[in-house]
């Protein structure tokens, strides 16, 4: 019962990169089920993801494309695939601090190892079972808490 309260006090902005609309809905539903009211921005391919992060094209306006606190990234994406996006983020000084969690249907070992080779923060396979899906989302939340506590406290102190 404490958790949701915690979450609401720490609004975490998530960038979801997912080409499958049904999956997007599922993820959003799972978050709703857990009462995670995090703001989620959705983009549908690798190109859009990078445009969003670099505020290019349709995402020029910073108010519509704020810096996310976390990125959920599918691997199989149109135009520019997820690994490429991951690589670009992790090679960029300004972006590499943003935790990236790969959320994909692939359990292929090659994909897992390639993702970790490109410094992914976590790799989570999409389960078919919705409860498991929810569990994943919860884990994501938990994961994020641990990950971001330190920098966030710092920030508060400075303020």
């Amino acid at each position: 019962m404490d958790k949701p309260a915690n979450k609401s006090t720490l609004p975490i902005r998530i960038l979801l990169v997912e080409d499958n609309d049904a999956h997007t809905k599922l993820i959003l539903r799972a978050m709703q089920e857990d009462r995670l009211a995090n703001p989620v921005d959705c983009v549908r391919d690798g190109e859009e993801a990078l445009d969003y992060l670099y505020r290019r094209g349709a995402f020029e306006d910073p108010s519509t494309s704020p810096r996310p606190d976390m990125i959920l990234l599918d691997l199989k994406l149109p135009k520019i695939d997820g690994l490429e996006v991951l690589k670009t983020i992790k090679e960029d000084e300004k972006l590499r601090d943003i935790p990236v969690v790969v959320l994909t249907s692939s359990t292929d070992a090659r994909d897992v190892s390639m993702a970790y080779r490109h410094y992914v923060n976590s790799y989570i396979a999409k389960p078919v079972d919705f409860d498991k899906f929810r569990q994943v989302v919860q884990e994501l939340d938990y994961y994020w808490t641990i990950f971001n506590t330190k920098p966030d406290h710092k920030t508060h102190r400075v303020k």
């Binding site: 049904a22 391919d45 149109p78 409860d131």
Partner: protein
């Protein structure tokens, strides 16, 4: 007849050859005289001649039993020559009685030389010229027997052997002669030295004839008399005598003729009238000179004479004169006891005057000479002057060689004038010793003997010298014992084999440094540091060593003189050992040449007799001249039997013509040699297969002399060859034999076929050239060289695969195994090769399959990966919403429940579509319809019909803008491609812009292309290739599974074409389809143009 005789005798070539021999006008020589004597003894003839017939005379190199004066002249004019007829005919001349011979009865030899019976055999040079005759002559008629003729012929041959031998040794002799001349010059020099010595003691030398006319005078005589030498020559000595004494000059001349040697005083008058008194010793010479001459030496004693003038009449003056003489003068009483001796005499004998006056003549004679060479007192008493050489024993026991002139004085007293001639004798001994060494050399005496003689000769010249010759090994580093007759044997052995170096005694250093090394004191000289003890042990104190140089400057050895006391050489000593070194060089080089000659002769004999093959000399007519045992063994005849036959006699008739044809060609000079296999008849009648190699020896004038035949029994080899040939014919593999030069010696029939050659075409050619591809040829050749030189090899005895070159320049892959044929020397190789083209092809196919399979596996893996992802996606959706649906129902939230069901259905439909497309794709890869002639316009019509609703909905326009060709393709599949492209073109239109599609054909860069151009959204450059990937979609918002273009490209590629896109975002895309000409049935534009139409 007569003109023919002249023509042959005067033939310039013949005369030149005769002169070249250098035998004319040379003294008689034992070698030839021996043969003459032999003839006389065997044939009992009084006269034997070795006659060399020149242009106007015959010269006798040897003449036995010829009457004087011919015997001294040793020649006759041709008017007296029988031998010229032998020269003319080149055949033996057999005359039983010349007086009955029409050709000879006028010959002056019959009258002057009493030549009645004559038997002469020609002396023929290797070049064929007849230079003379070896003949025996009798003064009475004789019937010459065949045997006698044969003997004379043999002896003539021996004479020629002797002459040829000399000729053969020409170069050697020339060298020897040159060296001999150098020696002679050296001897002359030493003679001159002797003369100088004599002159310096006696001052004057002159010769005069028996009238007293001066023939020669020396410079000193001229100076003393006040004349120039030229003026004196021709003057009479009488006119130079003081006028008062001229009357007595005749007595002098008479006395010297009688006594031949005369000593005394002459009073001479100089040009300016002054008187000089000479003490002379003059000698008459009659031998070896054309006219008798008197050789005189005189000492000017004027001063002494003048000083003692007052005492002239007295004894003391006489004694004074005696005393002043350079020669020893001894006067004894009638019993031979000395009563007076001059100072020179005392010095000569080594006694004091007092001692001598207690001794007598006998005491001066060495004991061993007293019996053999006693004083001839009786002759003296008969008033004769006895001059002779004899040995005088000095007080210290040493022996001095002296010339003594003894005569009786009034009162029975004896006066002896004695001169030390040891120096002159030494010079003579040197000359004789050296001559002896040279003679030995020419006689072929062993080198060690010759060197021994040289050493002894030089030892005799230098008192106390112990000579040594060391020879340098052919390795140029070690000295070997040559000669050292008086050195201790142990010492000789100790230094035998010593290695030369910069401080190895005198000899080792001299040889090393190539220069004379004079060590005066072995015990102190650094050169001897290592050998001092050895030398001391043998009491050797000094050693002078002279390198022996060959004509080319190479060191051959050393000539050294040892002494038992420290000693430095005089100039004469140095000259002596230098000369000895020269002579030793001649001896050593000569000996080496001789040895080489002997060796090559021995080798020849050994080769001939012990050859493993038959060897024969065969006359140009075919007669066996000389055969070895092996040949006899091969044909089964004894040597005697064979020598009576010709090769034609034992040659198989079927082989004879071929052999004779070759013989004819060789005699004509067309071929230098030939080899053939042929058959002889064995004595037992059986056939013997032989391999015959024949070469021709020609005389020096170019005429054929005789054949040398080498006959090899090849029965076994033929059998082996036959077996081998059969093997090579029958073998299924390629078999190739190669010799050590890399040449192909045999090849199997299959190999010839495999490599594309005619039978036997490649035999004898280099394997590398014929069968090895260019790129490997150098490597192959190097490999052979490496094996032959080092024994290392890379490919022997194992299977290797390589490409072999064929006759047409193509290559064929072979598996090869090469072995060295056992016991072959030089090594031969046999290679077994198998054509592995089929295997290689199979391997290539297999590899292609493997590669394809691997490629397919990769594709499959990617395919499965992609599918698993795209199939999983709807499952996740369905699973997720199904769980949500449960919650929706629990909550009775109908709105959300419907939503969930909607998502589930959509996912299921998507999955259905995905599976359909996958099936289509997999069928595209596997199933293919039969190609047929297709009208593209017709296909387009079908496609448009199928997509009609889609086209209608999107308000699209489709135009065919150019005539399309007829193609030979799979109708269904090709339709699918067009449908995909049309679908895409309609689907990806820009918002608010009605799609317009243009379809056309064109030829670009010689390639037929179709295109489908749209005015849609376009595709960014970077995604233009990505869109052809499986399940690749650029816009997931629109319908589709991302399989369509993948299928289209695959179908086009299956027809041999390509599919790609050119596009500009926001303007539209053009999909291009290249069509291989092979599938175009009709490209006629005019025909197709009529089908152009616009569809809406």
């Amino acid at each position: 007849m007569h003109s023919n005789l002249t023509q042959i005798v005067q033939d310039p070539q013949r005369l030149a050859a005769l002169h070249e021999l250098g035998l004319l006008d040379t003294p008689a020589e034992q070698a030839f005289d021996r043969l003459a004597k032999l003839a006389a003894r065997i044939l009992h003839t009084p006269i034997v001649l070795i006659s060399l017939v020149g242009s106007d005379r015959q010269f006798f190199k040897s003449c036995l039993g010829l009457p004087e004066p011919w015997s001294s002249w040793r020649e006759t004019p041709l008017s007296h020559s029988f031998c010229q007829h032998v020269v003319a005919s080149g055949q033996p001349l057999v005359i039983p009685d010349a007086r009955r011979d029409p050709q000879l009865l006028d010959n002056l030899a019959i009258r002057d030389l009493n030549v009645i019976a004559y038997l002469g055999s020609p002396l023929i040079l290797p070049g064929g010229q007849v230079i003379g005759s070896f003949c025996v002559i009798d003064s009475k008629p004789r019937d010459w027997t065949d045997e006698q003729i044969s003997i004379v012929r043999d002896l003539a041959a021996s004479v020629m052997t002797e002459i040829n031998l000399r000729h053969m040794h020409d170069s050697l002799q020339e060298q020897t002669q040159a060296q001999t001349m150098a020696m002679t010059a050296a001897l002359r020099e030493s003679e001159a030295l002797y003369r100088d010595l004599v002159e310096s003691s006696l001052d004057m030398i002159c010769t005069h004839d028996l009238e007293g006319r001066l023939l020669s005078v020396n410079q000193r005589a001229g100076e003393l008399l006040g004349y120039r030498v030229e003026e004196l020559v021709g003057m009479n000595l009488r006119d130079l005598v003081v006028p008062r004494f001229r009357a007595q000059f005749d007595d002098y001349l008479a006395e010297i003729r009688r006594a031949r040697v005369l000593r005394g005083y002459l009073q001479m008058q100089t040009r300016d009238g002054k008187r000089r008194v000479w003490y002379y010793q003059n000698t008459l010479r009659t031998e070896g000179v054309s006219v008798p001459i008197v050789r005189g030496t005189a000492h000017d004693v004027t001063e002494q004479f003048e000083t003692g003038r007052k005492l002239r009449e007295s004894e003391s003056l006489y004694r004074e004169l005696i005393e002043l003489a350079a020669d020893g003068i001894f006067i004894s009483d009638a019993e031979g006891r000395f009563t007076e001796v001059n100072a020179a005499g005392c010095a000569l004998a080594g006694y004091t005057r007092e001692e001598l006056l207690h001794l007598g003549i006998v005491d001066m004679i060495p004991p061993q000479d007293r019996q053999t060479n006693p004083p001839r007192l009786d002759e003296l008493w008969a008033g004769k002057t006895i001059i002779r050489e004899r040995r005088l024993q000095r007080k210290d026991g040493t022996i001095v060689l002296v010339e003594s002139s003894v005569k009786q004085l009034p009162g029975g007293r004896l006066q002896g004038i004695v001169r030390d001639v040891s120096e002159r004798k030494q010079a003579e001994a040197l000359r004789e010793g050296n001559s002896r060494a040279l003679e030995q050399l020419l006689r072929g005496t062993s080198l060690s003997e010759v060197l021994d003689t040289l050493v002894r000769t030089v030892e005799a010249q230098i008192e106390g010298a112990i000579g040594s010759v060391l020879l340098l090994d052919p390795d140029g580093r070690h000295l070997r014992h040559g000669a050292g007759p008086h050195l201790p044997e142990a010492y000789n052995q100790a230094i035998d084999g010593v290695e030369i170096g910069p401080a190895v005694g005198s000899c080792g250093t001299a040889a090393y440094e190539s220069r004379q090394m004079i060590v005066e004191n072995i015990q102190t000289d650094p050169l001897w540091a290592d050998y001092r003890k050895l030398a001391a042990a043998h009491d050797l104190q000094a050693c002078w060593s002279q390198p022996i140089f060959a004509a080319d400057g190479q060191v051959l050895g050393t000539f050294a003189m040892y002494y038992r006391e420290p000693r430095s050489p005089s100039e004469r000593d140095l000259r002596l050992i230098e000369d000895a070194g020269h002579l030793a060089a001649v001896a050593i080089e000569n000996s080496r040449v001789q040895q080489a000659l002997v060796q090559s002769d021995k080798r020849f004999r050994a080769t001939f007799e012990q050859a493993a093959v038959g060897v024969a000399h065969v006359s140009t007519e075919g007669r066996w001249l000389r055969v070895n045992q092996k040949l006899c063994d091969i044909v089964g005849y004894t040597r005697q039997e064979l020598l009576t036959k010709t090769f034609q006699d034992i040659t198989h008739p079927d082989d004879l013509d071929a052999d004779l044809a070759q013989v004819t060609r060789m005699l004509a000079g067309e071929i230098p040699t030939y080899t053939m296999e042929k058959r002889y008849f064995h004595k037992n009648g059986k056939i013997v297969w032989i391999n015959l190699t024949v070469s021709l020896t020609r005389k020096s004038n170019g005429e054929p002399d005789y054949f040398i035949s080498v006959v090899e029994d090849i029965a076994q080899r033929r059998q082996a060859d036959a077996t081998r040939r059969a093997t090579l014919e029958a073998a299924l593999d390629c078999i190739i034999e190669m010799d050590h030069e890399g040449k192909i010696t045999a090849i199997s029939a299959v190999a010839e076929k495999t490599f594309g050659y005619a039978p036997a075409e490649v035999i004898g050619r280099e394997l590398a050239e014929v069968l090895v591809p260019d790129a490997q040829r150098a490597h192959h050749r190097q490999g052979l060289i490496n094996y032959l030189t080092t024994g290392r090899h890379a490919i022997l005895n194992r299977h290797v695969e390589m490409d072999a070159l064929r006759a047409d320049g193509t290559t064929v892959p072979v598996e090869l195994m090469v072995r060295v044929i056992e016991n072959s020397d030089p090594p031969r190789f046999i290679g077994f090769a198998r054509d592995i083209t089929a295997r290689k092809q199979a391997e290539a196919v297999r590899e292609k399959l493997l590669a394809d399979l691997t490629q397919r596996n990769v594709e499959m893996e990617n395919f499965v990966y992609t599918i698993s992802h795209d199939l999983k996606a709807p499952l996740i959706t369905i699973g997720g919403f199904a769980s949500l649906l449960v919650k929706d129902i629990e909550r009775n939230d109908k709105e959300r429940g419907r939503e969930s069901v909607q998502e589930i259905r959509k996912a299921a439909e998507g999955m259905q579509q995905l599976i359909d497309d996958l099936l289509l794709l997999s069928r595209t890869g596997q199933v293919q319809g039969e190609p047929e002639d297709v009208d593209l316009h017709a296909i387009l019509g079908d496609v448009q019909a199928r997509c009609a609703s889609h086209i209608e909905r999107e308000r699209a326009t489709i135009r065919v803008v150019s005539p399309l060709p007829r193609l030979h393709v799979d109708r269904l599949r090709f339709g699918q491609v067009l449908q995909n492209l049309l679908d895409n073109g309609v689907k990806f239109h820009r918002k608010g812009v009605d799609p317009v599609l243009e379809i056309g054909a064109e030829r670009t860069n010689g390639e037929a292309r179709l295109y489908v151009r749209d005015n849609g959204i376009g595709i960014e450059k970077r995604y233009q290739e990505k869109i052809f990937g499986l399940f690749e979609r650029l816009d997931t918002g629109r319908e589709g599974t991302g399989v369509g273009l993948t299928i289209a490209r695959r179908i086009v590629e299956q027809h041999g074409g390509r599919l790609w896109v050119e596009s500009e975002p926001g303007r539209g895309s053009t999909f291009w389809l290249s069509i291989p000409d092979s599938v175009i049935v009709d490209d006629s534009a005019g025909e197709a143009a009529r089908h152009m139409r616009t569809l809406r």
